[in-house]
Structures are given as C-alpha cells and as structure tokens.
C-alpha cells in the first residue's frame, strides 16, 4: 500500500510536467487547429537557456524568470515569422512546419551544447517527507505547476486580454469584428505556450538530466494526455496529463518490464479513447453536410 501511494505521488509529479506541456499543446490547438510537434523541443531549448544563465552565475529563480521572458518573446516570434506564412495553407503543411522546427531546435541544441547529458540544478532539496510518501523535489514540481495553472486561470478568466484570446480562438471572425487583433492574440498564445513549456522543461531537467532529446518522451506523453482529456479542453489537458503520469508510473512498477512500458501505457490510453473518442472532457466536433 505504501509503495502504491508512493508510485501515485511520483506519478503525479511526472504528470504535472505532462499536464503543463499538454496545456501548451491545447492552447495552440484551440487557436489554430494545429498540433505543435515542436512544443517539446522549444521547451528543451528554453531549458538550455536557463542552464546557460545558471552556469553564468545567476541565482536559480532569476534564471528561471529570465528564461520565461525570453521563451515568451521567442514563442511570439516563431508564430509571427514561421507559422504565419502557412496560416492559410493546408493543415498538413503547418504540421510539417512544426516537425521541421522540432528537427531544427533539436539539431541546433546538439550543435551548440553537444549531445552530452548535463546535470541540471534543482531549486528544491531532494529528501523524503510525509513518511517517505513523496520527496520535497516532487512536491516542489507540483507546487510550481499549480501556481502556474492558477496564474493562467486568472489571466484567461479575469483579464481583458485573456478574454480576447479565448474569443479569438473560438471565433476569429467575430473577434475581428469586435476590434480584437486576432493575429496578435495568436502570437501571445504561442508566447504563453512557450513559457509554459519552458517551466515544464526546467522542472523536469533535474530528473531526466538535460540533453537535446530530453523532451521527446515528455512531448509524446503530453500529447497523449491532451487527447485523453480532450484536445479542445484546457481542464482536460491538465487532468489527462496527470492521469498519464500516474498510469505510466503504475504500469512501469506493477504490470510489465519497463521495455514495454510505453507500449502498454499507450494501449491503455487508446482503449479509453475507443470508448470516449473525443477524450474525457472534449466536445464532439459537429459536422454538417
């Protein structure tokens, strides 16, 4: 029982990371009908920026905040410069552009920082608490994720810009008629998604260690979490991400040798989707003739 609870808690810590990246994916999907396959590599690149700053002697949290700001601006720039040209192209073209970005970020990081695995400092000490149910590091990761989610909730719920972004994602044409600059809202969305991803990257790096391929697995689990929750639902993304984190951990501990962990975890998720094809919280796409 004790071990089971331990696995649940460490699954929640991993799930918090997946939930963050899933939320970033959902934000971009809602606004542009596009799965950003580069989300993980953008987060990885952000994490290298934080690593560089920490190595240059900056205190951890200062490096963290600067990285978020840089990622936000970088995300906006990517939308404006690289995504905008395929805005009206077939979705497949836009998907290919995000896959190209994935390769470019991965390869550039390998070139600049090498593929050697690096230690990444954690701001939280790593010792067991609450009768060894959870470590302080996992608690810290969960806390940071919760604070970020709360801030996003407040932003989208209570600020004019947040409301305008929701409107622009839901009905771009009506949003323009209200005088909302939809293009700028999309760019802000990409900026926020990049900053959320950066947070996830910095939180996961002490556990996974930093290398250019660090976020590959995270992106895939996050994608699964986003779809499990329903690709159109931010709440679903968070819940889906957490479920995926716990499932992955339990499957790895109890069910099967770790070499098939990914396969079994995915099989379970797909089984759920067979019965809930729009995810747990997603709305059906209404189609007309």
């Amino acid at each position: 029982m004790h071990q089971f609870l331990q696995q649940i808690f460490s699954g929640l810590a991993a799930g918090a990371i997946y939930a963050s990246v899933a939320l970033a994916l959902v934000m971009i999907y809602r606004a542009t009908d596009l799965v950003n396959f580069a989300q993980g590599e953008m987060a990885m690149f952000s994490t290298y920026i934080a690593w560089t700053l920490v190595n240059a002697g900056l205190p951890f949290w200062a490096a963290f905040l600067i990285t978020l700001a840089v990622s936000f601006v970088g995300g906006m720039a990517i939308e404006r410069v690289l995504i905008r040209p395929v805005e009206n192209a077939p979705v497949l073209a836009a998907v290919i552009v995000t896959i190209a970005l994935l390769l470019i970020f991965n390869s550039t990081a390998g070139w600049l920082y090498s593929y050697t695995v690096q230690d990444f400092p954690s701001p939280f000490p790593d010792r067991p608490v609450f009768g060894a149910l959870i470590t302080t590091r996992d608690l810290g990761v969960i806390a940071v994720t919760l604070v970020m989610l709360a801030m996003l909730f407040i932003f989208f719920r209570f600020t004019a810009t947040g409301l305008a972004m929701r409107a622009a994602a839901q009905n771009p044409e009506s949003a323009r008629l209200c005088g909302i600059p939809v293009g700028r809202m999309l760019a802000i969305g990409w900026g926020l998604a990049a900053a959320i991803g950066a947070t996830a990257g910095i939180m996961v790096a002490p556990v996974l260690f930093l290398d250019p391929n660090m976020m590959g697995g995270v992106l895939i689990y996050a994608f699964a979490g986003a779809l499990l929750g329903g690709i159109t639902s931010p709440v679903g993304a968070v819940v889906g991400g957490l479920i995926v984190g716990v499932t992955e951990n339990l499957v790895g501990t109890y069910l099967i040798a770790s070499q098939l962990k990914l396969t079994v975890a995915f099989a379970l998720i797909i089984l759920v989707l067979v019965f809930k094809p729009n995810g747990l919280f997603g709305t059906a796409i209404i189609r007309r003739v």
Binding site: P90, L92, A169
Partner: protein, 343 residues
C-alpha cells in the same frame, strides 16, 4: 470554430500527375514509354552505389504512395507507417532467414500480412480523426522498436537479422545491385498502376467523396467505413511491400532502423511531394533518400537543422507539395501551348 481542411481541397484532376500519366492518350503512352526506357537504361550509366540509392528512392516512393492513399485520398494523417514498413521488412527477413523462402516469394506474403494488419488496425483507428488518429498511429510507431526487441526469438532482438543475398537469374548477366534496381522498378510500376486504377475508379471517387463530404457520402449510400478500411489496408499493403523490398536490398533488419523518425520521414515525403498525387510519391522518395545526405554535406555539425530548413523551404514555396503546386501550372502552360486538348 472554423475547421481547416486537413489537406488541400482538390484542385483540377484528382490524380494530379498520375491522372495525366495514365490517361489513354497515345502521346502520353509515348512519353511513358520514353520514361520507362530511360529508367531501364539509367543503371548502366551509373556506379553501383548510385544504383543502390535510386533503388531506395523507388522503395521509399512505394511507401509514400501507400501513405498518399491514406492522407491524400482519405484525409487521414498517419505517423505510424514506419511500423508497417517494419512489418513488411520482418516478414521478408523471417521467411528468408528461418524458412529459406526465396526473396521474391516474400513480397506477396508481406503484402498479404500488411494488408491484414492494416485492416485490423484500421477498424478501431477509423473511429479517430485528425490529431486522435495521429496519436494512435504515433503510438504504433513508438511501439514498433519496443515490440521488435521484445519478441526476440523471432526478430533476433537488438542484433536483428542478416539476410542471404539475393542472386540475379544467371541468364541475365547483370550484377546484384542492378538486378535489385529492376526488381524495385517493376514493383514501383505495378504499384503506380494499381494506385491509379484504385484512385481513378469507383473506389477512388468513393474515397474522395468520403474525405470531402463524409456525411453526404453516407447519405448517398457509400459504405464509408468499408472504403476507409480498404484504403487503410491498401495503404499499409504498399508500405509493407516497400519494407520487404528494403530488407532484401539492404540485406539486414534491426529495430533501430524502424524508429519514429522513419514514419515521420514518410509523412514529410508525402507532404513535400504533394499528398493527393502519384507523381509526388517519387519526389517524396527522392527527398527521403537524398536530402539527409545533402544536409550532412552542407553541415555535419547540425545536419537535421539543414534538413528542417529544407522542409520549411518546400512548405513555404509549395504548400501543396511539389507536384500539387507545380503540376496545375504545367497543365495550364501545356493548354496554352498547343491546340491539342490535354484532358
């Protein structure tokens, strides 16, 4: 929320290049004949290594053609075709290695197995659309190397399987590489012919209707589920045969050769060539085979960044793919040039 088309709305002839290439016009037959003669003569003018490369181009083209049937005509994105490529490759490898089956006999076996796998996989996958199908197929791509390693009594696990080298028939006095080139060329021509038949016949029209107007198609009495399943099976059949050919030509299979990246390459090749086209598959094959090497020549520090930039360049200049963008333009130019009607 406005939904974007997954793929480009079809403009002009649905078959793109293929539509014209396999028309009944005699001028077209002559140009096809010229192309075939060129393709037959080509390996005798090139070094063995270049012949090998072209063989791989044709094999990738068959795989991309399979994906085109799914993506272009069925409107579904698959990130998992590398898995079917692997299934075809291991079918050939296991039959040859364990049972001593001659290489040519493994191709129909790979076709059958991959068709059945595709239909079995397609049945549940049909419930999914857009990003959901992408996830399901992505899961398959990720599971492939893991499964190959897990069932190691059959697959040889991490070590893989070395295959016996195919021997060209002795009445033909050519070396192995050129012989395999002709095997691949035959397979490609047959694949193109079958694809053209499917896509320009009744099935193709039903697929296009299902893609563009799913609800209307049902209302018209088209059994969309059956057509979608058949499309999936045909698509995986092509890709599986390509996988078997690749195993035979390379002479070796191992789990690392069938990673997610292979699946992504097929999708990239499909998009860059032009999804709803047959000619695009060949452009896609060329891209998959040559661009990584070119990228390596340009920068061996960050080759995949160069590869990514090449993808961006293609997508910005030709968002509908090389053939999808260029072909209507050539068609128009031809219309203007001559008094003869093209189609």
């Amino acid at each position: 929320m406005e939904k974007r088309h997954v793929i480009a709305p079809a403009t002009g002839s649905p078959g793109g290049a293929g539509g014209a290439v396999f028309g009944s016009n005699s001028a077209q037959w002559i140009s096809i004949l010229a192309l075939v003669v060129f393709a037959v003569a080509l390996p005798f003018a090139l070094s063995k290594y270049h012949v090998f490369e072209l063989t791989m181009v044709m094999i990738y083209a068959i795989a991309v053609l399979g994906l085109n049937i799914l993506t272009g005509y069925n409107g579904q994105i698959s990130l998992g075709h590398g898995g079917f490529f692997a299934a075809g490759a291991y079918t050939a490898a296991i039959l040859m290695h364990r049972y001593g089956v001659p290489y040519w006999a493994t191709l129909p076996a790979a076709a059958l197995i991959c068709f059945v796998l595709g239909v079995l996989f397609g049945l549940p996958a049909l419930r999914f659309e857009g990003p959901y199908l992408a996830l399901v197929t992505l899961a398959m791509a990720l599971a492939t190397p893991q499964l190959l390693k897990y069932f190691d009594t059959w697959t040889g696990g991490q070590q893989g399987i070395n295959l016996p080298k195919p021997v060209p028939p002795h009445w033909l006095e050519i070396d192995r590489d050129r012989w395999l080139y002709f095997v691949a060329l035959m397979a490609l021509l047959i694949a193109i012919r079958i694809a053209a038949n499917i896509l320009h016949g009744r099935t193709g029209r039903a697929l296009i209707a299902t893609r563009d107007q799913p609800i209307a198609a049902v209302a018209m009495g088209i059994p969309t589920a059956r057509y979608k399943t058949i499309a999936f099976g045909t698509s995986t059949l092509f890709t599986g045969v390509a996988g078997a050919l690749a195993a035979i030509v390379i002479g070796y299979v191992s789990p690392e050769g069938y990673s997610l990246f292979l699946s992504v390459s097929f999708l990239v090749g499909s998009a860059i060539g032009g999804i709803a086209t047959i000619g695009g598959a060949i452009v896609g094959g060329l891209f998959i085979e040559f661009v990584p090497n070119l990228a390596n020549d340009i920068s061996d520090a960050a080759p995949w960044a160069i590869y990514g930039l090449a993808m961006l360049l293609f997508m910005y200049t030709m968002p509908r793919g090389a053939v999808g963008t260029v072909w209507p333009w050539i068609g128009k130019a031809l219309m203007r040039m001559g008094p003869h009607k093209i189609e």
